[in-house]
């Protein structure tokens, strides 16, 4: 059984989107993915999906993004989560190895399951999806 079926990728970096797509195909992972360029786009879409209970299983979330960054997304997500029955896993995926970001991620331990450093590797994908 597959761990995840529907995935939101939230990152402002187009190159990263491309890499993620390639990793899916390389690892033969068949999932539905949706790509967003900032936190606000993702949270708006999520609010929409809540109505139809068609929310994703997994969100790969970048920290540093325009409009709404990862933290602002998490603030909104925290409020939204209470209204969602389905469990949504959130992984932070950031190039930042800054201690302040790591500490801040711990403030969201109810929302964030794991912190991945960029670049994501094939091994990372295998542990997540297989």
């Amino acid at each position: 059984m597959k761990k995840f079926n529907t995935i939101f990728v939230v990152d402002d970096d187009l190159v990263y989107h491309f890499i993620i797509k390639k990793l899916f195909s390389k690892c033969n992972i068949d999932v539905r993915t949706k790509y967003f360029f900032n936190g606000l786009e993702a949270i708006d879409e999520l609010k929409d999906k809540v109505q139809t209970d068609n929310v994703p299983d997994l969100i790969l979330l970048d920290i540093n993004m325009p409009v709404y960054d990862g933290w602002q997304f998490l603030e909104e997500f925290k409020k939204l989560k209470k209204t969602i029955s389905k469990e949504i896993t959130v992984y932070l995926v950031s190039s930042s190895n800054d201690i302040s970001d790591l500490n801040k991620s711990k403030e969201y331990q109810d929302e964030v399951k794991k912190y991945y450093y960029k670049p994501m590797t094939q091994e990372d994908f295998e542990t997540i999806f297989v």
Partner: protein, 507 residues
């Protein structure tokens, strides 16, 4: 006759015996000293008290009086003693002398001798003398003198001044050292409390009065206050005052306060310099952290992309399009070099030690910017309101000021409200001699609660504009700060944004 003579003699003898008995009863030290014309000394009379106090023995009593005197006088006082004696003898004026004696058992004692003097029929000089032991008075006097000397030296060495305030009359005694701090002297006639208080820096007056009141109300054991006081040359000196109420009336109201003054100007200046340096260090440290943050976020994401793209090209699968990968490599490479350029610009702002600073007229620079942007202003039908004071001139880097006006103006146009005619208003005013520039628009506004923290951060954007890069405000803020200024923002979503820039003329 003989009988009467005998009886007279008898009477006289009886009288002498009576006086001798009386004399022996009085506690004073009494003696009679006779000096012959040949300068020989005789004790014609010494009462018992003298003999016992000066530890004179039977054998000595028959020896030369000079020897007795010499053996008991303090070596340092011998000259004084005999000189005064001779002078009194010569002038036939009362003898008065203070001297020390050294006694075998009793040690050193101070004595004062007072004697009347007369010549008898045989040209002998006769002194009738009374000795008093003044040791305790003398010792007290010496102790006071010694402590006064010590005290005076301590004051001089510590450069401390003394003040003595009579609360009822308002009169104050200021010591020379106190007046010296302010380059004043007795000629300036500073003798009252008000004369001192009116020299205190207005900003320090309230604290000073509060501290005094606290001591008057018995809340503090001492009065202590450090404040700036105006010196004669027009500069302010930092003066530390310490004092204590030493007398109160029955109701507890202070009558007299005594205290010290010390000049702590150099300490204060050092302290302020230290605080200033601390500020600089904190600022530098924040910049370093900010820099590390940028490196961690931005540079690492590009290198990560390079690594992944190259990995893919190294182990190609069927679907991989080499062309596409190359395209993304190029995108990443461009992004990387942009980031490096921005970082370099940031480092340049803060590492150029001598920034080129000129006297710049705000109005002239604004007009120049408006000309540069005239096409954008026309195309977007922007209303410009220029309320900048004609004479408002600042010391600033010309390139920075130009980029400041360009940045705020283009931002205001870029983020104008779609339902309104954009209006940008520029104004300036002076506060404490420093120029403040306000740039106000009626645009989209920014939710500061949400975005306030990252407003001036690098690569932060808040609106869904495609051409927003999130670099302008970041660079502008750094430029303003490198010139010693600061920037503040007020904004309301759908109402507009006001930026307030404080220029620091002094740095």
């Amino acid at each position: 006759m003989k009988t009467s003579l005998t009886s007279n003699n008898y009477l006289l003898e009886e009288k002498v015996s009576f006086y001798k008995k009386i004399l022996n009863q009085v506690p004073d030290l009494i003696f009679q000293l006779t000096i012959s014309p040949e300068n020989n000394f005789y004790f014609s009379y010494i009462n018992k008290n003298v003999i016992s106090f000066f530890e004179v023995n039977e054998f000595e009593l028959h020896s030369n009086p000079i020897d007795i005197i010499n053996s008991r006088l303090h070596p340092e006082d011998k000259n004084l003693f005999f000189d005064s004696l001779q002078s009194s003898k010569k002038k036939l004026q009362p003898w008065d002398c203070e001297f020390r004696v050294v006694l075998k058992n009793k040690g050193i004692h101070w004595f004062k001798v007072v004697g009347s003097v007369e010549l008898d029929a045989d040209k002998n000089t006769v002194f009738y003398c009374n000795l008093s032991n003044i040791s305790s008075v003398k010792n007290r006097e010496l102790k006071v003198q010694e402590s006064e000397t010590r005290y005076q030296f301590a004051l001089e060495a510590s450069k401390k001044g003394i003040w003595d305030y009579n609360v009822k009359t308002g009169k104050v005694y200021f010591s020379k050292e106190s007046l010296d701090i302010l380059q004043l002297d007795e000629m300036d006639n500073i003798t009252s409390n008000t004369q001192w208080d009116e020299r205190i820096h207005p900003d320090d007056l309230e604290d000073y009065l509060l501290n005094i009141q606290a001591h008057i109300d018995n809340k503090t054991l001492f009065f202590e206050n450090t404040k700036r006081v105006l010196a004669k040359d027009g500069t302010y000196r930092w003066v530390l005052s310490r004092g204590k109420i030493i007398e109160r009336d029955a109701k507890g109201n202070p009558l007299r306060i005594i205290g010290t003054h010390s000049d702590v100007t150099s300490n204060k200046e050092k302290e302020q310099e230290l605080l200033h340096n601390l500020d600089i260090i904190i600022e530098q440290n924040n910049r370093l952290l900010n820099f590390a943050h940028i490196v961690s976020h931005n540079l690492r994401s590009h290198t990560g992309n390079f690594k992944m793209l190259l990995n893919m090209m190294d182990e190609p699968d069927d679907e991989l399009n080499q062309e596409e990968c190359l395209g993304y490599l190029k995108t990443t490479s461009n992004a990387l070099s942009d980031t490096i350029d921005h970082l370099k610009e940031l480092v340049d702002i803060h590492t150029t030690i001598i920034h080129k600073k000129e006297d710049l007229n705000l109005g002239l620079f604004l007009n120049h910017t408006l000309e540069v942007l005239s096409k954008e202003i026309r195309d977007n039908k922007v209303t410009i309101v220029n309320k900048i004071g004609e004479k408002d001139t600042i010391k600033f880097n010309p390139a920075y000021l130009e980029s400041l006006f360009l940045n705020f103006t283009t931002n205001a146009i870029k983020y104008s409200h779609p339902e309104r005619i954009p209006e940008i208003s520029y104004s300036s005013r002076r506060e404490n001699g420093k120029v403040i520039l306000m740039i106000q628009d009626n645009g989209l506004g920014i939710n500061l609660e949400k975005h306030g923290e990252k407003l001036f951060g690098m690569y932060k954007t808040f609106h869904k504009n495609d051409d927003a890069r999130g670099i302008g405000l970041f660079i502008t803020k750094n430029q303003i700060e490198s010139m010693g200024g600061s920037i503040q923002v007020e904004s309301k979503v759908n109402v507009g944004t006001t930026f307030k820039i404080n220029f620091n003329e002094e740095v």
